[in-house]
Every structure is written in C-alpha cells, then in structure tokens.
C-alpha cells in the first residue's frame, strides 16, 4: 500500500484529498497534515468581517469528515521535507509537529510515496512595519481576524452614530500584495453596512492599492464586451467607486502603519501620509517557511523552494522582461522538476512571474500585484493533480497526463459588493484564460466570448449559493462530486 501525503487542508489540499480518496477506493492511503482543526470557507470571511455571518457559519470540524471518509489526518504543521529520505527513513518523509491538544509540540517523521504541498500562504504582516491585527490595522484573511475586525467596526459605527466623522481605509498593506479582490469585497461590504446602519454620511471611504489602475485585480484587469464597446475593467471599477462615493489611491506601496496613520510610497518615489480611524489592509503572501534536506542532511531548501518560499514546480523560472513573457512559462503538471513524486498546488506553488506588469518606484520599491490564485483554479489544479497521482499509484502512469495551466484555464469569480438578500449586489466575472495569452487572443489577451462581467443582485444570490454549495461539498455529503470546483 502506498501513501499520498497532503500538506494543508485548505481549498486545494482538501479538494485533492477528497478526490484522491474517492478514486483510490481504499486501495492506497491518503493522509492529510494540517494545523487547524477547522476547515474554513475563506471567501465568506468577508461576511464575518461585516457581521453578516458568524465564524461557525464559515467553518466545520475537519477531523469528523476525514474520520467518516477514512482519510488519515494529523492535526500538525509540516516543518521539513526529506524528498530522498534520511538516515532513519529509507522512504521520502516529512517532519511534522503536532498542534492538537494533548500532542502539541510533539514531532514525528511521516513517510510518503507521493506528496502534495498545498500549504497556501503565510500572511506576511511583518513585511510592513505596524501592519496587521497585532499592530495598527485589521485583516479578514482568517475567520478569527474577520471576527475581530467586525468587533472593531461595530465600535466605529457606534461612534459615527454619536456624530463622529471617521475615515476608513481599505486595501493592500504592501507594494507586492495579491488578493485585491478580497479587499475590494470588504470595502463594498463595509460601504453597504454603513448605509444600512444609517451612518454612511459620517464616513469617508478610501481604497489604497498597489494596482496600476483600479480593476487590475492582479491579473492586468480584463476587457469585456458591453454596450457596443470592448471596455477595460478599469472603467467599470472606477464607475462603481464613483457611484458609491469611494476615493481611491492606486500605485501605492504602504511602507509603514502607525496608530491611525500610514505612510505610502508612489511610483515617483514620493512618500505620502494618510491618517485613518479604521484600516483593513491585506498583508503580502509568502510561502509558509518549509525547509528541505537531502539524504545526507544537507540543506536543499533553495532546490525545492523559490526565494519567496513557494515551491518550484514545472514552470519556466528564467527571469524575463514583461515583453518576453509567454503562457508557456506557467506550470502544467505542478510536479517538482527533480523529485517527480512531489507536487505543489493552489497558492503553494511558485508562479513563474506576476500577471500584472511589474513596476518599480523611482527609488526601486516594487509596486505591483503578485498573481492571484483564487478558489476555482486552486480547486481545478487539486482535482487534476490528484487524479494524475492516483493513476500513478494505481499502476496507470500513461493516464497521468492531465494538465491545469493557469494560461489554459478560466475562472469564475463572484465579488460581493453588499450582502443583502433583496438589495445586495455582487460583481459576477468570468475570465478566460486567467493568464492573458496575447499569441492566441491578440487584442486583449483573453477570449471575449468567455470573459464577462456584470453587477447585480443575482451575483449576491450566487455567492450565497456557492457558500452553501462549497461547504456541502467540503463536508463530502452525498453527491458532493456533482458540485464543480
């Protein structure tokens, strides 16, 4: 019996575990190592951050699901990978450290035949002095953060009710942040809740971001057909900001956050101060800090991981100018080039470069979004790579040829812009391919028949449906496989 070891039970790791288990039908072992015993539907954390949902509505106990399905589970975090084994273990193995009550701090080597690294991001608040919930800004990246943020927002709303004017700043807290979509959603949900609470007129809302223009979202924005024009998302996004009375600052790298004040640098290298009463600023992401050693015990971390801590796979990592980027640079099989039983999916794999054009300030500060790896592509990669591994485990390596390049894959994304069942709105977007391909689609890099966007109440209904649908699927309830990634 062989073992597939999956590190991380987030959107990609959990999806891979369920699909692999179903396909292997108990003939081989699937083991998941993840430090948090709760599974979290991260996209709905936004709604926790505005009090529309409670943490328990966006989480469930992972162990119960794994127990029911027969998937082995260790509540632990991976520390070090030994892709050639070590002096005690002939087989490749991973050093893990338990985080569960009773075993906290205990370490153990877990052997594997196949490994998927789906450890997602480290929320790197330390990259900007003063950033994050332990310092001077809030976050919605985890359900815990979002809950704290909602508590702080309630206090602010109360003060506004008592006649105090407030400035709210939402966006990215570093020059190289990704996930602008999440901050965008939070901004518009806050705007909606302020209106509902009757205090919108007391708040000045600011968006601050490292995007070149509004509507970039880390993927260079997108063009869609509308009203007889092919129009860039910048236009629609600016329209929404103007409509809702939100001011915006783009091309900004937040350099420091202090008590009720932040400093940001613009592309001219000029520093600006912005004061605020409440700030929700996303951190930049890096890999979770896994290290690696070879059989002799020598450090091979840089062979497995890029400098940003994400795992190298089959992408083309040769440094290239923007004009020389190609869709072919993007990974297809997510397999490590040397250790062909090691894979990385979701946010954990190292992208070859960004999707948005890299920009630097005059003083050399990078100010551009790193590439987003949202839920749908993370799930699709997870499924395809799990199937490939299962085919290899089941003795059918010739079938293990599925690919999931972000340059050949589309994504559907619903960005909430106010959570009300009868008066809420959300932006519904489809984009194909995620990484623009200017060789195939010369004008805009995308297929205009599959790249669409609109705002309305229907989007909110769909977002709600997806919330329940994906949690149902993640609980592996009957017919879960009918719900697509």
């Amino acid at each position: 019996m062989q073992r597939l070891l999956i590190l991380g039970a987030g959107i990609s790791g959990h999806t891979a575990a369920l699909h692999a288990w179903k396909k292997l039908k108990g003939t081989h072992e699937v083991m998941v190592v993840s430090p948090n015993k709760n599974w979290n539907w991260i996209p709905s954390n936004i709604w926790v951050g505005v009090g529309f949902m409670e943490p328990k509505q966006v989480t469930f106990d992972l162990e119960k699901v794994y127990y029911k399905e027969g998937i082995h589970y260790r509540q632990a975090k991976a520390l070090e990978i030994y892709p050639e084994g070590n002096s005690e273990h002939k087989k490749p193995c991973v050093l893990i450290e338990y985080t569960s009550e009773g075993r906290r701090g205990q370490q153990e080597f877990v052997e594997y035949d196949y490994l998927i690294n789906s450890t997602g991001p480290k929320l790197n608040f330390n990259a900007t002095p003063g950033l994050g919930p332990e310092h001077h800004s809030y976050s919605v990246c985890t359900y815990g953060h979002a809950d704290e943020t909602w508590k702080a927002l309630q206090i602010l709303i109360n003060e506004m009710r008592h006649g105090q004017k407030k400035r709210i700043v939402i966006g990215t807290g570093h020059g190289t942040c990704t996930c602008q979509g999440a901050a965008f959603e939070y901004l518009f949900n806050v705007e909606y809740i302020l209106k509902k609470e009757g205090v919108r007129h007391m708040a000045e809302l600011y968006w601050i971001s490292n995007e070149a223009e509004l509507g970039d979202f880390g993927m260079g924005g997108m063009h869609i057909k509308m009203g007889g024009y092919v129009t860039h998302s910048k236009i629609f996004t600016e329209s929404l900001y103007a409509e809702r009375g939100i001011k915006w600052i783009t091309q900004a790298a937040v350099k420091e956050v202090r008590d009720k004040e932040l400093t940001y640098e613009d592309l001219d290298g000029v520093m600006h101060e912005l004061d605020f009463d409440f700030a929700m600023l996303l951190p930049p992401f890096s890999g979770v800090g896994l290290t690696a050693k070879n059989k002799a015990g020598a450090d091979i971390t840089s062979e497995l991981f890029a400098a940003n801590g994400f795992m190298k796979v089959d992408g083309d990592y040769t440094p290239k100018e923007y004009d020389n980027w190609s869709p072919e640079d993007w990974p297809k099989s997510y397999k490590h080039p040397k250790y062909d039983n090691v894979y990385a999916i979701g946010i954990a794999f190292a992208p070859p470069h960004s999707i948005s054009k890299p920009m630097k300030s005059k003083s050399g500060t990078p100010i551009f979004p790193t590439p987003p790896r949202t839920g749908m592509p993370s799930g699709v990669m997870a499924r395809e790579i799990a199937f490939n591994i299962c085919d290899r485990m089941l003795g059918n390596p010739e079938k293990a040829t599925r690919t999931a390049s972000m340059a050949k894959m589309g994504a559907a994304c619903i960005a909430s812009a106010g959570a009300g069942v009868l008066d809420g709105t959300a932006v519904s977007m489809t984009v194909y391919p995620i990484v623009p391909d200017f060789e195939t689609f010369e004008e805009t890099g995308r297929d205009l028949n599959f790249t669409t966007g609109e705002i309305g109440l229907a989007g909110h209904w769909i977002k709600h449906l997806l919330h329940h649908g994906f949690i149902y699927k993640a609980k592996a309830k009957p017919f879960w496989r009918l719900i697509p990634e």
């Binding site: 600016e238 103007a242 409509e243 009375g245 559907a412 008066d423 709105t425 599959f450 309305g456 697509p484």
Partner: protein
C-alpha cells in the same frame, strides 16, 4: 453617488442611471440574470 467635483477623481467615470441601478436589484430582471450568469459559469467550468 457622491457629488461630482469638476476635474476631480470621480468626475470622469461613467455612473449608472437610475434605471440601471433599478435593474441591478429588480427581482424579476435579476432572476433572469441569475440563470444567465449560472450558465456562463457552467460553460467556464466545462472548459476544464
């Protein structure tokens, strides 16, 4: 919509008319859009 300040940031972008805003939350129209958006998303899902 916030008051448009000539030559200000919010002066230039297009903003929706009352009818467009009404359509965005009209239950009848949005039910129809709900079907269409779901079809678009399914089409995207089937591409992979």
């Amino acid at each position: 919509m916030s008051k448009r300040i000539p030559y200000g940031q919010n002066y230039y972008p297009p903003v929706p008319t009352g009818f467009t805003k009404w359509k965005r939350i009209s239950k009848f129209w949005q039910f129809f859009r709900f079907m269409i958006i779901n079809l678009k998303m399914l089409r995207m899902v089937r591409k992979h």
